[in-house]
Symmetry: C2
Subunit: 326 residues, 2 copies
């Protein structure tokens, strides 16, 4: 008798079957069919690399009954949003998936279908990864790789007094969408839950902001907290006006302004743009169809974020944003 | 009152404090202090990129009472082992860490100390990552980035009939070490548990194997199963002789040959080397101090792995290796 390593999928350990069936079709040329120890590819010549990694855990970053395809797409899109914030173009990604034993094949099929949809939308391949079991909740991690022209990466640390503070899209839909998805907020047409589950990485705009924005980041932990990060990195303060913060119709209807200003999951861009670049910003917004709105200005002094309310007085906000250990 | 984003660590959400305190000192120049949306760096000119990602889950890949510094080092080293198997030189890594709320600061300190030790040993920086909470077990994921000369990456699919099958180091210590760490096997000097907890990625040898090895991979899921993968990728079969498989003194003493041949966690290299390159292989082994042993040969025909026992008859092995979903 021999210890055979059979050729048919049916006799291979289940993890290899699942990788072959669901993930291999997603693999780019450099991924070597996901059947080697690593991916190999030549980076685009004359470009810098931009890399970022994010984890998502069931029960923390997504709900147990969120559809697997949307979970996959959100994981990919939150990472793409980091590339957008750096002004980078996506190149590919690596993925690790830890799921309970007994997770049905249909879960993998749906998860992979979500990835396939977004790979097509954003023109990126899977480069590699790992599939393991876990005795706990589904735990996902994704590393995104992108490229940018040398020296053109958008940083958080370039904001200067006098710059306008700008945001893309609308703010607060993600936090409200979580409530809606939990059944704690009315959401008749599902718009808010959709915004929570499927962020829109602002890649097209981000790649046009070199020479326009002094500083940029994506808003993932709440507008006020993330603006605080940008201010600290730049050594400046900022004042924003609550009435200027763009809200969707659904968010305006919900009338939960403090949550919109501090809740997470926006995945919009936060920009510091000097007055002289505002027309270029407007042109970039028009070219990409991504709306931008000026919500305040950078000030000199301590890295403090002041939020002016409807009555012209500073707003008291009870939380600065989302933290995993707060 | 204002919604302030204070400048002092003490008032920041705990995750930012921990990133700043424990992980920022590990960050390389391209990581931008781990305080931007992504890392930015110029890839070494004229090299191809090699990337791989692995996940490790508490209770699956490591034991709940394994020291955090050794868990960190094993995570890094298993990924470095993938680079070694490709003949690549490491460039840096990204890390995601999901831990239960209430995980003590000392856990992070020890985890980071382990990373620091191995960053010094392997001369690589942290490039980025993410820290989140989880309601489940500690879940870790690491993406390694390396480089290789164009076209020089070692693949699994190049083995040809007549090649010798070679392994580095000794086989089976990892699987025995898991038993030892669980108290199920005597391990008076802790050698086996040490081999389980702290693999030795064979980077120095791997980087000398271009033009020598027809095929290479690292042994992570068990010698027989992984040799099966190599055979399938190459479209060949293989016969190995159990008496030729190098065992450590501790493994020989344990007298658990089937487990050594099929157990996981070796992180040694498995090579297919043509007879004409054996002297070059020996020179590479001598130059790096990494022993290599010929354990069998590649054969034409079906992708079947035959293991010949001490008596010259094929060995019956009850399992082909480790699978997460088998």
């Amino acid at each position: 008798m021999t210890a055979s390593a059979p050729e048919t999928d049916a006799a291979l350990p289940e993890e290899f079957v699942r990788i072959a069936r669901h993930f291999r079709p997603l693999a780019g040329p450099g991924a070597l069919g996901l059947s080697d120890d690593a991916a190999v590819f030549a980076p685009p010549p004359g470009r810098e690399l931009v890399v970022s990694a994010d984890a998502m855990v069931q029960g923390v970053h997504f709900l147990p009954d969120d559809p697997p395809d949307l979970v996959a797409r959100k994981l990919l899109r939150t990472n793409l949003s980091d590339l957008a914030a750096m002004g980078a173009a996506p190149l590919g990604y690596l993925l690790t998936v830890s799921v309970p034993r007994g997770t049905p094949d249909a879960w993998f099929a749906a998860f992979a279908a979500g990835l396939a949809a977004d790979q097509a939308e954003f023109a990126i391949p899977l480069l590699g990864g790992d599939t393991t079991s876990t005795p706990g909740p589904v735990s996902l991690s994704l590393t995104i790789i992108g490229t940018v022209a040398p020296g053109a990466a958008l940083r958080r640390n370039g904001a200067r007094p006098g710059d306008g503070i700008w945001v893309t899209g609308t703010i607060g839909d993600g936090a409200l969408g979580l409530l809606a998805a939990q059944g704690a907020l009315e959401d008749p047409d599902g718009y808010l839950a959709g915004r929570y589950r499927l962020p829109r990485p602002r890649l097209a705009l981000g790649q046009r902001l070199a020479g326009i924005a002094h500083a940029a980041m994506d808003i993932s932990d709440g507008l006020v907290q993330d603006l605080g990060h940008l201010c600290r990195a730049s050594g400046v303060g900022a004042t924003i006006e609550a009435t200027l913060v763009p809200l969707s119709k659904a968010a305006a209807r919900a009338d939960r302004l403090p949550l919109c200003l501090t809740g997470g999951d926006d995945y919009e861009l936060l920009l510091a743009v000097p007055p002289g670049a505002e027309s270029a910003l407007a042109a970039a917004a028009q070219a990409t169809g991504i709306p931008v709105t000026r919500i305040g200005a950078v000030a000199s002094g301590a890295a403090e974020v002041r939020v002016i309310g409807h009555d012209g007085a500073p707003l008291a906000l009870s939380r600065g944003g989302w933290s995993h250990f707060g």
